[in-house]
């Protein structure tokens, strides 16, 4: 800021510019290399899932072996008749219904924390957040005992309740920040017209905050779909979820690598789809709404 624009004395700026441009290209390349390197294990998983078992487990790796869907056929039980559909559907059910319940509870709560605020609303926000910090293992045993005594073991509805409590703080924080952007005049207009709160939420607030609500739903879905510890302890045969089903591969031996990779790809697909869809809002959800 000290030097005012003076006539440029030497032809060095073009050279400096060229150097800056070359540096910028190099950094862009470096970013690409880093991105590919980070993605490599995932790409390797995809490639292996498309190889025959005999090509999947070789050293050195057979990069260019013919592609086949045998791994996927094996995963879906072509040889053994063991179908992964029940666990996949259990995961889908538990994730879907818990996400629905989260939204039904979080939307009115976010309204009371963002639009018509309760007193000490920040304290309430931090109470929600603090429950998220409570380690899952701390409540596991009582939940297990409760489930055993009430016959709720091996029941996906128990998982629905637990996943709802697991995701509710995140959802409340995210929705609070999204609802803060809804113009109050619109809500006031609806209330002047005599609309009651459920109507206001469903007809006015929800449509205006729709992108944010969708992102919240996707993030809650991901966390529920991924959960292992509760599902492992609280479900058995009937309500087994996809991650629990996957743990069957932990000690498998023999030729199973292609099938394992196919299983991992299939189970991860919903998360990948949800994550890519919510990409822009992902960080807001992961940081509990602290980062926008």
């Amino acid at each position: 800021m000290t030097t005012t624009t003076a006539p440029v004395p030497t032809p060095s700026p073009p050279r400096a510019l060229r150097r800056a441009r070359r540096r910028s290209t190099a950094l862009g390349l470096l970013a690409w290399v880093a991105g590919l390197l980070f993605c490599l294990p995932a790409l390797w998983m995809l490639l292996t899932s498309l190889h025959a078992e005999s090509d999947a487990a070789t050293n050195p790796p057979s990069l260019f072996a013919p592609l086949t869907l045998d791994g996927y056929r094996a995963f879906f039980g072509a040889d053994t008749g063991v179908t992964p559909w029940p666990p996949l559907l259990n995961s889908l059910g538990a994730s879907f219904f818990s996400t629905l319940l989260v939204l039904l509870l979080a939307l009115p709560a976010a309204y009371a924390l963002s639009i018509r605020r309760v007193r000490k609303w920040t304290d309430v926000m931090f109470f929600f957040l603090s429950t998220k910090m409570l380690p899952v293992v701390a409540g596991l045993l009582p939940v297990y005992l409760f489930a055993r005594n009430t016959g709720m073991l091996d029941n996906i509805w128990l998982l629905v309740l637990l996943y709802t409590s697991m995701n509710l703080p995140i959802a409340v924080w995210m929705m609070q920040s999204f609802l803060a952007d809804v113009p109050v005049s619109v809500i006031e207009a609806a209330q002047v017209d005599g609309a009651r709160l459920p109507t206001v939420l469903a007809r006015v607030v929800a449509p205006m905050a729709a992108p944010g609500i969708a992102a919240t739903a996707l993030i809650c879905f991901i966390f529920s779909w991924n959960e292992l510890l509760f599902a492992r302890v609280l479900t058995g045969v009937v309500a087994q979820t996809a991650p629990v089903f996957l743990t069957g591969f932990v000690t498998s031996q023999g030729l199973f690598l292609a099938q394992l990779c196919a299983a991992s790809v299939v189970v991860s697909l919903p998360v990948l789809a949800a994550g890519y869809a919510a990409q822009d809002k992902l960080v807001q959800g992961l940081s509990l709404g602290a980062v926008k």
């Binding site: 639009i115 701390a138 045993l141 991860s268």
Partner: protein, 320 residues
């Protein structure tokens, strides 16, 4: 440097009339929408914890239910004297600290690379968040079997290729998990969690006021000086947030330890040990006491985390 006067023309957004009586029907009408969520959360998360606290004071093995008796703080004494449990405390600290440290360093590097315009930036970002979007059990299985396996894993496959290049026909084939079990778990977790750190730090970088950086550049500041004296101070709270949230999530990690080593070879962290104490050894009282210890440890981290979140939160609220 601390106060940036934002010349935002917007006035703070009007919230609905804050008529907030402490009691009476009006107050309850305001609170009503909040209650279902609050009651649900207290019932499902706080009550079990109270039960854990109570159980932790009993000597209770479910294989021997007749001998259930009040044990005072005896279980806590066991937690701190039991060699396996004490070791898992050390493992938890080691695991959490190394994963958080590595992900922050890598995440910062990647965030700096992505905080520039270049060809295909969106695509690279998508590539980089992919590890985070693999189901944790899948990711752990992938590392255990497809990458670490001494016979046909990708790592030893690459070693073979490199060996070939130098005419080495019988390259060494290390058994990664057996030789460096904790590092094996750490590496898999670092792969999964680096995108998380990168996203938070990238958000921090992009909230950095552009005109200040531009001014520094015009004043002749070098790239390093800009980073050291402008970017890093600005990022400080985002770094704190990433470190603390990452620590809260990774302290609780169960999937990777369970899948990659099944808690063997000195990799059992507290969540895994507690799971084992209660699920396999049926020592309910002892498992509960260990659970309470984890909670106390988490509360210490969480107190700092909440403070950072609240300072970011207030800043956002003031900016609005």
């Amino acid at each position: 440097m601390t106060t940036t006067v934002s010349a935002s023309p917007q006035s703070p957004p009007e919230r609905l009339a804050p008529a907030r009586p402490k009691t009476g029907p009006r107050a309850w009408a305001t609170r009503a929408p909040l209650l279902p969520a609050l009651v649900f959360l207290i019932a499902v998360t706080q009550l079990p914890f109270v039960a854990t606290l109570v159980i932790s004071l009993f000597d209770w093995n479910s294989l021997n239910p007749d001998k259930r008796s009040f044990n005072g703080l005896g279980n806590y004494a066991s937690v701190f004297t039991d060699a396996a449990l004490r070791e898992s405390v050390v493992t938890t600290v080691l695991l959490t600290a190394s994963v958080v440290l590595a992900t922050v360093v890598l995440g910062l590097g990647l965030a700096l690379l992505l905080d520039r315009t270049f060809f295909g930036r969106g695509l690279v970002r998508t590539l980089l968040i992919t590890p985070f979007l693999i189901v944790p059990v899948s990711a752990a299985l992938l590392w255990k079997h497809a990458l670490y396996n001494p016979e046909y894993g990708l790592f030893n496959g690459v070693l073979s290729w490199i060996g070939d290049l130098f005419g080495d026909t019988s390259p060494s084939r290390p058994d990664w998990i057996a030789e460096m079990p904790l590092l094996a778990v750490v590496a898999a977790l670092v792969w999964q969690w680096t995108p998380f750190m990168m996203l938070i730090l990238l958000a921090g970088l992009q909230s950095r006021p552009a005109e200040v950086v531009e001014a520094a550049r015009l004043d002749g500041a070098s790239a390093w000086q800009t980073f050291r004296y402008l970017t890093l101070p600005h990022l400080r709270r985002y770094l704190e947030l990433g470190i603390l949230l990452g620590a809260v999530y990774i302290v609780q990690n169960f999937d990777a330890v369970f899948t990659i080593t099944a808690g063997g070879l000195g990799t059992a962290n507290l969540p895994y040990t507690i799971y084992q104490t209660f699920y396999q050894a049926h020592e309910y009282g002892l498992a509960s006491a260990a659970g309470v210890v984890v909670v106390i440890g988490t509360i210490i981290i969480a107190t700092f985390a909440l403070r950072v979140v609240s300072s970011l939160f207030n800043e956002e609220a003031n900016r609005a």
